[in-house]
């Protein structure tokens, strides 16, 4: 994992001092609300319904056990003893006091963490595959590229006051687990026929009010040009993106208005000025950053003994076998697996994690997974490097923590925004919807019979819960002051990106579990085999049979 040197540390420390001074000026009344707004947002501080919210950057989802312990400590000292894993792999504190935020940032800086550019109209934390560096289907490790983008985008002087926020995601595996089609810029890393790394650029994807799948503008960029090319895109956006209407200010609207061809030409013209300029990456610079992400010293020994051990444990304990099947993933390194720990226990907001759970997970990471963890955009955590012979011990250790649910990728492992319980923009609550659905579908056998399915919930059209890309999406809407919910189906965030279609008129919260159940029952009737997943059935049969199941007169 990337370790700060003195220069990184200086930047973060001085940013804390700068923000402390800005906050003092605000509290003294020397800065107005409007003037303080961009300054605090650029440091991750929102003011939401009940209290400020502080969003802490987890660069491309990598976090060490020491860092997780620091978050646990901070959440006890300054918050209510828990934190939230966001759909962009960051960590949020829901209840800090504004006056404490400079101290929180100082504590974070001690463990090489910060909240720089986690909100505001600037380049946000870059996200990637939570299995980066370990996935068996990986073609190029995205982490060095993400780290280079992190450094380049951090306190970039030209792009701190963009028309709107700007999000970049990078994927280097066969399966896209980073949703690159739904980011302002999505970068796909691949190898050309000569085995050299090349970059494919998608622009103008996004969710929110106007969901759009990104368009390809370049498919063969040499990595040395990554930063100058990014700069060209950002400059075109900064100069030409709309600033008169915040709902039309994202780059997706600019790309649509100009047309992909014209946008590509504008970027190329801009690139002429900076191409081969100082921000051109040298092989040396790339290699140096890549040196932070070399494969760790895997101690496990004998791969076939490891898998024999695992097979034997699975045969002995069917519950464990189910967990291994659903919550662990094939690893590049023979003898290892990557483990997903879902944060979706019934009765807790999806993605929430208590300080005690954080401490315990940090402990388990030290013991079983080289002291590192990852956050996922599905609001879960990952231990990426677990020897197969240790999985049973790990599983047993997770049980008393309430972290052993074997539901990864299944219906109760849903994505959900904070909604009306915390968010002032909400049309409707979302957490109670998640809970009602979790209660309805708790029965594990039923979940397993359904197979992998993604259910995403947002409390309003800002789409923080990614409802447009859920296999099933739920959106809170306001009908004459009453909370209602629209249901859509058929979205996908993966390589076969698609935007879900609205089923029809919206429902009351009380009716939702039954509505979703009807959709699932129809799926079970329609599927041709147990292997055919919900999304495939939708693609094969279309939306009509599902509409019929929900609205049809029985």
């Amino acid at each position: 994992m990337y370790q700060y040197d003195q220069l990184d540390q200086t930047i973060v420390n001085e940013r804390v001092a700068q923000f402390r001074e800005q906050t003092e000026r605000y509290l003294r009344g020397d800065l107005s609300d409007a003037q303080y707004l961009p300054l605090r947002l650029q440091n991750g501080l929102y003011v939401q319904r009940l209290a400020p919210m502080l969003r802490i950057a987890v660069p491309y989802g990598l976090i060490s056990s020491a860092q997780l312990r620091a978050i646990a400590r901070i959440s006890r000292r300054y918050d209510k003893g828990y934190a939230h894993i966001s759909t962009r792999q960051n960590i949020q504190l829901n209840w800090p006091q504004l006056e404490d935020v400079p101290d929180i940032l100082a504590d974070l800086a001690e463990v090489q963490m910060h909240a720089i550019q986690t909100s505001g109209n600037c380049i946000r934390n870059t996200t990637t595959d939570q299995f980066a560096g370990v996935a068996a289907d990986e073609v190029v490790d995205p982490r060095p590229y993400c780290e280079i983008i992190r450094q380049w985008s951090t306190l970039h002087p030209e792009f701190a006051f963009l028309p709107r926020k700007f999000k970049i995601a990078v994927n280097g595996a066969e399966e896209d687990r980073a949703a690159i089609h739904f980011h302002d810029i999505g970068i796909e890393l691949y190898r050309n026929t000569h085995g050299a790394v090349r970059l494919k650029f998608l622009v103008g994807g996004g969710l929110g009010r106007t969901p759009v799948i990104g368009s390809m503008i370049r498919d063969d960029l040499d990595p040395e040009h990554m930063l100058t090319y990014l700069e060209a895109i950002l400059r075109v956006y900064n100069l030409h993106g709309r600033r008169d209407n915040k709902y039309k200010a994202r780059i997706k609207i600019l790309v649509k208005a100009m047309g992909v061809e014209a946008f590509r030409d504008a970027v190329d013209a801009e690139w002429e000025t900076s191409r081969n300029g100082p921000n051109t990456l040298s092989d040396h610079a790339l290699a140096e950053v890549a040196g932070h992400f070399t494969a760790p010293a895997y101690s496990a020994k004998d791969a076939s003994a490891e898998s024999a051990f695992l097979a034997e444990a699975c045969a002995r304990e069917p519950l464990f076998a189910g967990w291994v099947k659903r919550n662990t993933m094939a690893h590049k390194q023979p003898g290892y697996r990557a483990v997903t720990i879902t944060l979706k226990a019934t009765g807790q907001a999806p993605g929430d994690i208590s300080a005690a759970q954080m401490d315990a997970l940090a402990e388990l990471a030290d013991e079983f997974s080289l002291g590192e963890l990852r956050t996922t955009h599905e609001q879960n955590m990952v231990l990426a490097d677990v020897p197969q012979s240790e999985l049973m011990t790990l599983w047993q250790a997770l049980q008393p923590l309430g972290l052993a649910a074997s539901n990864a990728g299944h219906i109760t492992d849903m994505i959900c925004c904070p909604g009306g319980d915390f968010c002032s923009l909400a049309n409707a609550k979302s957490i109670p919807v998640a809970q009602a659905l979790q209660e309805r579908f708790e029965a594990m056998d039923y979940q397993y019979d359904l197979g992998p399915i993604e259910l995403n919930i947002s409390g309003c059209m800002n789409a923080c819960g990614h409802h447009h890309v859920g296999h099933i999406g739920i959106l809170g809407v306001d009908k004459k002051g009453q909370e209602f919910y629209q249901v859509c189906i058929g979205g996908s965030q993966a390589g076969n990106a698609s935007i879900a279609r609205i089923l029809g008129p919206s429902f009351s919260r009380a009716d939702l579990p039954t509505v979703i159940e009807k959709l699932l029952e129809r799926y079970l009737e329609l599927r041709e085999s147990e292997q055919e997943q919900f999304l495939s059935v939708y693609e094969r049969c279309g939306i009509e049979p599902f509409k019929d199941a929900v609205y049809g007169k029985a």
Binding site: D5, L7, T10, I11, E14, R15, A17, Q18, E21, Q22, Q35, P38, L39, N121, I148, Q151, W152, T154, L155, H156, P157, E158, F159, A160, F161, L162, P163, L227, R235, N238, L239, R243, T273, S274, G277, P278, N279, L281, S282, H284, A285, E288, V289
Partner: protein
């Protein structure tokens, strides 16, 4: 029309002799003389870059401090080789001064604001190449 003005030089801290400035449209109508020009953040400069490069001074008037176009105008002018003075006018925050400088601005046209900007804590290190620091961090200390 032409606008006489006074501003504070970042180099010396002194008020600099007034220059006659043309607003962009007047400057175009006057046949693009090698004179000081005032542009607004929403102006499109693309067709005028070559002629603007010989201006002794360009003032970029920010429509609002959230309007980041001025940063890109400045960075682009510097990248193209503009050697004259770049002044930030209009609605900017003292807290933006460091980023403005890094994009190539030499001065703010508000003397009081410049004075308070100079007292703010800044950040002494930077990752990117910019108008002042021509090499990004990865080409400087780290690549020894």
């Amino acid at each position: 029309m032409e606008k006489p003005e006074q501003y504070l030089s970042a180099e010396t801290g002194n008020a600099v002799a007034t220059l006659h400035s043309f607003h962009l449209q007047d400057w175009i109508e006057a046949g693009k003389p090698a004179a000081a020009v005032i542009v607004a953040t929403e102006d499109t400069l693309a067709e005028h870059y070559t002629d603007l490069l010989s201006a002794p001074r360009i003032t970029i008037e920010f429509a609002g401090f959230m309007d980041g176009r001025g940063f890109s105008h400045a960075a682009k002018l510097r990248q193209l080789g503009f050697k004259g003075e770049l002044v930030a006018g209009g609605d900017v925050l003292a807290d933006q001064w460091v980023f403005l400088q890094r994009c190539g601005f030499d001065a703010l046209d508000n003397i009081a604001l410049t004075a308070s900007a100079e007292t703010l804590p800044g950040i002494s290190e930077r990752y990117q190449a910019d108008a002042r620091e021509l090499e990004p961090l990865f080409r400087r200390k780290r690549s020894a």
